[in-house]
Subunit: 163 residues, 2 copies
């Protein structure tokens, strides 16, 4: 299939205490309330109004720390089996877009302070959206191989496998 | 701030019964189980393994139907007040990335059949990730102005405002 590519310019930068992916919690729900701050470019200040009425937001960002190589199957952190890449949250993807749902602590001017974040310091932000349970939480979910993984999600930390 | 822009190439195309945004349900949870099919480019077939073990997936796609103009505040479908763009799910955004959580019905080769989808036919797909409640469903959520909107979400359909 022929597709036209699309060019995106980051709208801000995410700051966290994680200098590298190693040792970072692998997903925000297990991120021990790790704090972070999103610094938006000045032009977006008006776009942040009303976001503080929401408890959580969806951050879409660029996995800038991973190189361009991806493979269509991977061994995820949580598993010892090779899995299809699109059945994982691995950062090396055809389009390296990451997604995290984080708690909104406060918004001051162009700075959004969040907690429960699992991204590397300096990550370029592509978009932020309000998290709306009515839209974003389906009923009767099943989580495939992840539900079956013995480690559980809380005890697993990133290693260098996906850098 | 100076940011390097990033170029993404769609990995497939989403097919639905919605020829235009008008009349389309505005979010998947209210999409009346509207059916859709994602046709992936052939090279990604191995990346789809194991995804069928999950009940839902996250589609990230390009709001290709909206032009490039956005404004930092908008009047959302659900509200009569002007809101900050990033406190809404409006499609016209600095980076026009859309996100929908949909139910996985089946996967056959490079075709992923889904339901509860709210995107326009022909939408270019950027990424698909498994939906994992442990990662994606925070506790104690509040949904700001949307919770207060009188219409509720189920009765509101898209009009031409965001085309």
């Amino acid at each position: 299939m022929d597709h036209s590519s699309v060019e995106y310019t980051p709208i801000g930068t995410i700051h966290t205490d994680f200098e590298t992916a190693e040792g970072m919690p692998i997903q925000p729900s297990v991120a021990d309330n790790a704090p972070g701050a999103v610094e938006f470019d000045a032009v977006y200040e008006p776009a942040l109004s009303d976001l503080d009425g929401f408890s959580h937001c969806i951050l879409l960002y660029q996995f800038h720390d991973s190189d361009d190589d991806y493979s269509t199957t991977v061994k995820p952190f949580l598993d010892e089996n090779e899995r299809g890449l699109f059945a994982t949250r691995a950062p090396k993807r055809p389009n390296n877009i990451g997604l995290s749902i984080v708690a909104i602590d406060s918004i001051d001017g162009t700075e959004l302070t969040v907690s429960g974040i699992d991204v590397v310091d300096g990550t370029p932000l592509l978009d932020v959206k309000p998290f709306v349970p009515e839209f974003d939480v389906p009923d009767d979910t099943e989580s495939g191989w992840i539900a079956k993984s013995e480690d559980g999600t809380g005890r697993t930390r990133a290693d260098s496998r996906f850098r």
